[in-house]
C-alpha cells in the first residue's frame, strides 16, 4: 500500500514536471471521454434510468395485444381492457392510458397541452402520491364524460397557475368544463421517461378529449397502452399465461373482432416496444462514433507516453540496476498512465455536462417535445470511471512494457541504439490508426455537408421562402363542421386582407414537414394484380389559391375554384407522375378515378368510395422526404373534403417573418380567442424538419471528425518531433557529410508522409465499409462519393504535411557541431 502511494505521488510529480505533455494528454482525453460520457448520458436517460418516483419498478409490466399479422405491440380496446382488468388475478392493478393533445384554457389565452387519458387506478399502479389534492376516483371513471375532473402536472401547476391554490378550480379543456382535483408529484413522467403529460383526464372523458370519435364502446379499436403491477410472488410468465387464457376467452366470445388476437406481457421498457430496436440502433451508432474518437485520443496519448517512456529509459535502467523488478517498474508507469486518464475522465464529466445542454438544443419543439433527464448520476459516473480506468490500463500497458525492458548496461553506458525501433513502430501504428479513424469521421461529415448542400439545390416543386404558417386544430375545440368551415373562412379572409399579404390559403398538411396523408385509389384499366391492395397515393387537401401561394407550376387544366363546392362534382388536381402513370400524361384532364373508402379511426377516414374528375395537372414535387423519387400525388379541394385541423399558409415578403406571424396570431385570436395556434413559423423552418437528422449528423460527426483531425495532427507532429529529437546526432553526421537543409527536411518529411499515406489508405477502406450505413440519410450524393473522399484525403494529407513540416524544419536548424558532441 505504501509503495502504491509512493507510485501515485511520484507519478503526480512526474506529470506536473512536464506540464505541456500533461496538458495536451489530459485535454485530448477529456474530449474523448467527455464525448462518450455525453452519449452514455443519453443512453442512460433513454434506456437505463428508472422512472422517477415510481415505486418498485421491477413489478411493473406492459401488456399489448398480438395480431395475426405479426404485430406484437398492438394497443388494446377499452372493452378488452376492462375484461383484462377485471379478470386477471395476477395484478394488484392493471392501468390503461393514452396520450392525446388537449386545448386548455383557464382564463386568458388557450394553449395546446400534452394530455393523457388515464384509468382511475393509473397513479396507484405507478405507485405515486399526489402533491396536492387527490387523484382520480374509480367512480369518476365509470360513466362516459369523465365526471368533469382533471389532474394536472406539477410543472403545469407552477407554470400556468403560479403554484397557487388550484384544487377545485374550473378549467376549460377542449371547450368542456373540468374541475382540477389534484396535482401530480414533481418530476413524475409517464410510462415513458421522456414524456410528461400536463393534464390527466379519466378514460371515460375520451369523447371530450378526442372530439368526433367514440372509442369506449368499440371493441375493434385498439388505442390504449396497458401497464400492470404484478402481485407479490406473481411472475411475468404467470401473467402471460393468464392474459393468454383471457385473450382466448375473448376470441371465443367475440370471434368477429377478436380473431387471431392474443396478448403479450413483458417487463417495462422506457422506449415503446415497436421503436425499441430503432432507438437502440441509433444509440449504438452514436456510441460507435464517439468510441472511435476516444480511440483516437487514447492512441494519441499512448503515442506520447511511448515517446516519454523511451526518453526515460535511463531512469528505468537505473531503477532496474538498483533492484527494481520489471513488475515494479511497469506498475510505476501504469500508475502514471491511470492518473492521466482519471484526470482526463474527471474533466470529461464536466465537459459532458456542458455538451448535454448543447444536445438538448436539438430537441424538436412543440407538442412533440420530449423531456430527457441528462443529469450525471451514479451510472454515468461509474461509466466514466470504468472507461477512464480501462483505457488508462490498456493504453498505458504498451508504453510501460516497452520502457520497463531496457538493455540496462548499454543504456547506462549510453550505447543503446537510438530511436527505439519497436517503440517507434508502435507509435507509427498509433498515428496511422488515428489518421484512419479521423478519415472515416471526416468522410462521414463531408458526405452529410454535401447532402445538406445538394438538399438546398433540390427542386421541391414549390417555393417555401416567403410563406408563413399557422396550424389550428378545431377538432379539440368542439367545433362541428359547419362552425369549423366558418372559422376557417373568416381566418383566411382576415389573413388575406392583412397589409403586405400576397395570398392566403389553407391546407391539411405541410409538405416535407414530417406529416403526410394519402388514400387508396382505383383507376380504371389499372387494376392491381390479384391479392394486392389498390395503389396508395399521397394527397393533400387544399383550399383555393394553394397552387398560387406555394407557386406550384400548373401544367394543364385549372386550379380549384369557388364552384368546386361541397355539392358540386368531385374534382382533383394531380401531379405529372400520377398523370403519366395512370392517364397517359397531360391528357389526364377530364379523366376520372375513385377514392376508396377507408376504415375510420378517431373520426378520420373516408366512409364511402368517391369518384373524382381530374381538372388539373401540376409539376412534380417532393412531398415526404427530400430524397424521395418522383411519386404520384393528388390535391383534393378543401370544400369537398373538410378536416378540423388545417394550416393557414400566407405568402408575404421574404423577410417579414416576425410582423406577419404576429399579425396572423392577432387575426386568429380575433376570430376565436379560445383556439390555440401551433406551428406558427416560416415554411422554410417547417420543411427543414426532414433535414434535422442530417444536420444533427453533420454537426456531431463533423465536430468529432475535426477533433480527431486535430489529434491526428498532434500525433503526426509528436512522432516526427520525437524522431527528430532522437536522431539529432544523425542529423549532425549527415550535415557533416554534406546534407543540406532540403535533404534533412525530406528525410523527416518522408517519415510523416508515409504514416499519413498508410493512414489515409486504411481510412479510405474503413470509410468505404462504414459510410454505407449513412446512405439512408444522404441526398443527392452517394455514400462512396469520390469527391468527398478525395477532398478529405487531401485535407488530411495537407494537415499531416504541416504537422511534419514544423518539427522537420527544426531538424534543419540543428547545429552539426553541437549535435556531434551531444552524447
Amino acid at each position: 500500500m505504501r509503495t502504491l502511494w509512493q507510485d501515485i505521488r511520484f507519478g503526480a510529480r512526474t506529470l506536473l514536471k512536464s506540464p505541456g505533455f500533461t496538458l495536451v494528454a489530459v485535454a485530448s482525453l477529456a474530449v474523448g471521454i467527455g464525448a462518450n460520457t455525453t452519449i452514455f448520458s443519453l443512453v442512460n436517460a433513454a434506456l437505463l434510468r428508472p422512472l422517477p418516483l415510481v415505486r418498485d419498478e421491477s413489478r411493473l409490466v406492459d401488456v399489448n395485444r398480438t395480431r395475426p399479422n405479426g404485430d406484437r405491440f398492438a394497443q388494446v380496446s377499452y372493452p378488452d381492457y376492462l375484461y383484462f382488468r377485471d379478470h386477471a388475478d395476477v395484478f394488484d392493478g392493471l392501468a390503461a392510458y393514452d396520450f392525446t393533445p388537449l386545448s386548455l384554457s383557464a382564463g386568458g389565452e388557450a394553449e395546446r397541452v400534452r394530455g393523457m387519458l388515464a384509468s382511475a387506478n393509473y397513479f396507484d399502479v405507478m405507485g405515486v402520491k399526489p402533491a396536492r389534492g387527490r387523484f382520480l376516483l374509480p367512480d369518476e371513471d365509470r360513466a362516459p364524460g369523465g365526471a368533469g375532473v382533471a389532474v394536472i402536472s406539477h410543472q403545469l401547476w407552477q407554470r400556468r397557475f403560479g403554484g397557487g391554490e388550484v384544487v377545485g378550480r374550473q378549467v376549460s379543456i377542449n371547450g368542456h368544463p373540468f374541475t382540477v382535483v389534484g396535482v401530480a408529484p414533481e418530476g413524475f413522467k409517464s410510462p415513458f421517461i421522456y414524456l410528461a403529460p400536463d393534464v390527466y383526464l379519466p378514460l371515460t372523458a375520451q369523447a371530450q378529449a378526442m372530439p368526433g370519435s367514440d372509442l369506449l364502446g368499440d371493441r375493434g379499436a385498439g388505442w390504449l397502452g396497458l401497464r400492470g403491477r404484478l402481485k407479490d410472488g406473481a411472475s411475468v410468465e404467470q401473467a402471460q399465461a393468464t392474459l393468454s387464457v383471457l385473450a382466448g376467452q375473448l376470441q371465443t366470445e367475440f370471434a368477429d373482432v377478436e380473431r387471431g388476437q392474443g396478448a403479450s406481457v413483458r417487463p417495462i421498457g422506457h422506449v415503446p416496444g415497436e421503436v425499441r430496436s430503432a432507438v437502440v440502433g441509433f444509440m449504438l451508432t452514436l456510441s460507435v462514433v464517439v468510441g472511435l474518437v476516444l480511440l483516437v485520443a487514447c492512441a494519441n496519448v499512448a503515442g506520447m507516453q511511448l515517446a516519454r517512456a523511451f526518453a526515460r529509459r535511463r531512469e528505468v535502467a537505473i531503477r532496474t540496476a538498483l533492484g527494481a523488478t520489471r513488475g515494479r517498474v511497469v506498475r510505476q508507469l501504469l500508475t502514471e498512465s491511470l492518473l492521466l486518464f482519471l484526470v482526463g475522465g474527471g474533466l470529461g464529466i464536466l465537459l459532458a455536462v456542458w455538451m448535454n445542454d448543447l444536445l438538448m438544443a436539438f430537441r424538436p419543439a412543440g407538442t412533440l417535445a420530449v423531456e430527457f433527464n441528462l443529469d450525471v448520476d451514479w451510472r454515468v459516473l461509474s461509466f466514466t470511471l470504468a472507461v477512464s480506468f480501462l483505457t488508462g490500463l490498456v493504453f498505458g500497458l504498451a508504453p510501460a512494457l516497452t520502457a520497463s525492458n531496457p538493455d540496462v548496461s548499454a543504456t547506462l553506458k549510453d550505447a543503446a541504439p537510438r530511436g527505439g525501433g519497436r517503440a517507434s513502430r508502435l507509435r507509427g501504428a498509433f498515428v496511422v490508426g488515428q489518421i484512419a479513424i479521423s478519415m472515416v469521421l471526416l468522410v462521414a461529415a463531408a458526405l452529410c455537408v454535401q447532402s445538406l448542400r445538394s438538399a438546398a439545390r433540390i427542386n421541391t416543386g414549390f417555393e417555401a421562402e416567403g410563406v408563413y404558417l399557422a396550424t389550428v386544430d378545431l377538432s379539440l375545440q368542439g367545433y362541428d363542421e359547419t362552425r369549423g368551415r366558418e372559422f376557417f373562412r373568416r381566418l383566411k379572409e382576415r389573413a388575406a386582407a392583412l397589409p403586405g399579404i400576397e395570398s392566403a390559403t389553407l391546407a391539411r398538411s405541410v409538405p416535407l414537414s414530417g406529416l403526410a396523408f394519402g388514400e387508396r385509389v382505383r383507376v380504371e384499366g389499372h387494376e392491381p394484380p390479384a391479392g394486392e391492395p389498390p395503389p396508395f397515393v399521397l394527397s393533400n387537401t387544399v383550399d383555393e389559391d394553394y397552387l398560387r401561394t406555394l407557386k406550384v407550376p400548373l401544367l394543364a387544366g385549372r386550379d380549384f375554384r369557388a364552384t368546386d363546392a361541397e355539392g358540386a362534382p368531385r374534382v382533383a388536381v394531380i401531379n405529372e407522375t400520377m398523370a403519366a402513370r395512370y392517364f397517359g400524361g397531360r391528357e389526364a384532364v377530364g379523366k376520372h378515378f375513385t377514392l376508396l373508402a377507408a376504415p375510420t379511426l378517431r373520426g378520420v377516414g373516408r366512409r364511402e368510395d368517391v369518384g373524382v374528375e381530374v381538372v388539373g395537372v401540376v409539376a412534380d414535387g417532393r412531398y415526404y422526404t427530400l430524397g424521395e423519387a418522383p411519386q404520384p400525388f393528388m390535391y383534393l379541394p378543401l370544400a369537398q373534403n373538410y378536416g378540423g385541423m388545417l394550416t393557414l399558409h400566407v405568402r408575404a415578403p421574404k423577410d417579414a417573418a416576425a410582423p406577419v406571424l404576429a399579425a396572423v396570431r392577432r387575426e386568429a385570436s380575433a376570430v376565436d380567442p379560445e383556439v390555440p395556434l401551433t406551428g406558427v413559423m416560416p415554411m422554410t423552418e417547417a420543411v427543414g424538419f426532414s433535414l434535422i437528422p442530417l444536420r444533427l449528423a453533420a454537426t456531431v460527426v463533423g465536430a468529432l471528425g475535426l477533433f480527431g483531425l486535430l489529434l491526428a495532427a498532434l500525433g503526426v507532429y509528436g512522432v516526427v518531433a520525437y524522431t527528430v529529437g532522437s536522431r539529432t546526432r544523425e542529423i549532425g553526421i549527415r550535415v557533416a557529410l554534406g546534407a543540406q537543409a532540403g535533404d534533412i527536411l525530406r528525410l523527416f518529411m518522408r517519415h510523416g508522409v508515409v504514416l499519413a499515406a498508410v493512414g489515409v489508405c486504411l481510412g479510405t477502406a474503413g470509410a468505404l465499409a462504414l459510410t454505407r450505413f449513412l446512405a439512408s440519410l444522404l441526398y443527392g450524393v452517394s455514400a462512396t462519393d469520390p469527391v468527398a473522399f478525395a477532398v478529405v484525403a487531401l485535407v488530411l494529407a495537407a494537415v499531416a504535411l504541416v504537422a511534419c513540416l514544423v518539427p522537420a524544419r527544426r531538424a534543419t536548424k540543428v547545429d552539426p557541431m553541437v549535435a556531434l558532441r551531444y552524447e
Partner: protein, 228 residues
C-alpha cells in the same frame, strides 16, 4: 588552398566574452598533411569545424581555394563544403540504423549522382578498404577499428580535396590506430590534403607539419612550410 587571417571565435558569457580562438593566421597548401595539437580546451576542434565550414560564426577572414568563405551565404558555403571536404570523427559517427554499405552511400546521396555511379563508388570503396565482407553489417556489429575504417571510407568516398579528422584514433587501440594513420598517409600521398586534430606525437609524425594551439592562440608551427 586555405588561408585564415585573424580568425577569432568567442562566446558571450555572463563575465563578458570568452575567446576560443584568438587571431589565428594559418596557411595550408594543397597536398599538405597538417596536425593540430594542443591541450584540451585549446580550440582545436573549433578550428577544425571552422575549416570544415560547419561553423560560420567567427571573425576574421577565411579563404578556401581563393574563395572568401567568410563572405559566402549559407547555401554557397554548404555547396563548397559538400564538394571539397570530408570528415572523420573520434567516435566514428556512423548511422546506427544503416548498414556499412548504406553508410557509405549517405554522402553520395547528397551529391546528385546517378544510382549506377553511386553504386560503383560504394563497391570501389568497399573493395579499396577491404570491407566487402562487412557491407551488410550494422555499426554495432563491428569493432571500433572497423567502424573507424568505414568512417574514413565514407569520408573519402566522394574524393574530397580536404580531409578533416578530429582525433581519428582517439577511441582505438594502438594497432588499429596505426592502420588508420597508414591509411591517411596513403590518401595524402595520393593527393588528399589532410588536417587532423590529435594528442598523439606518433600520429602527428605521419604528417609534415604541426600547428600548436594554446588557449585559442597559435603558439607554434613546426615542419615543412611552417610560417615561422
Amino acid at each position: 588552398m586555405i588561408q585564415l587571417r585573424n580568425v577569432e571565435k568567442f562566446y558571450e558569457t555572463g563575465a563578458g566574452r570568452t575567446y576560443v580562438l584568438r587571431r589565428v593566421n594559418l596557411d595550408v597548401r594543397e597536398g599538405e598533411f597538417v596536425s593540430v595539437m594542443g591541450p584540451s580546451g585549446s580550440g582545436k576542434t573549433t578550428l577544425l569545424s571552422i575549416l570544415g565550414m560547419l561553423d560560420s560564426a567567427f571573425g576574421g577572414e577565411y579563404f578556401f581555394t581563393d574563395k572568401a568563405v567568410h563572405k559566402l551565404s549559407h547555401k554557397e558555403r554548404a555547396a563548397l563544403h559538400k564538394r571539397y571536404i570530408g570528415f572523420v570523427f573520434q567516435s566514428y559517427h556512423l548511422i546506427d540504423s544503416l548498414t556499412v554499405r548504406e553508410n557509405l552511400e549517405v554522402p553520395l546521396s547528397y551529391r546528385d549522382m546517378k544510382r549506377a555511379e553511386s553504386e560503383a563508388l560504394v563497391a570501389d570503396a568497399l573493395d579499396r578498404f577491404q570491407i566487402v565482407g562487412k557491407k551488410d553489417l550494422f555499426p554495432n556489429q563491428l569493432s571500433g577499428g572497423q567502424q573507424q575504417l568505414v568512417a574514413v571510407a565514407r569520408a573519402v568516398i566522394h574524393n574530397p580535396k580536404l580531409l578533416l579528422a578530429d582525433e581519428p584514433t582517439g577511441n582505438l587501440h594502438s594497432g588499429q590506430g596505426r592502420e588508420i594513420m597508414e591509411l591517411f598517409k596513403q590518401l595524402n600521398d595520393a593527393g588528399t590534403t589532410i588536417i587532423q586534430v590529435t594528442h598523439s606525437e606518433t600520429n602527428a609524425s605521419y604528417g609534415n607539419r604541426i600547428v600548436q594551439l594554446s588557449d585559442g592562440w597559435v603558439v607554434n608551427e613546426e615542419g615543412e612550410g611552417a610560417a615561422g
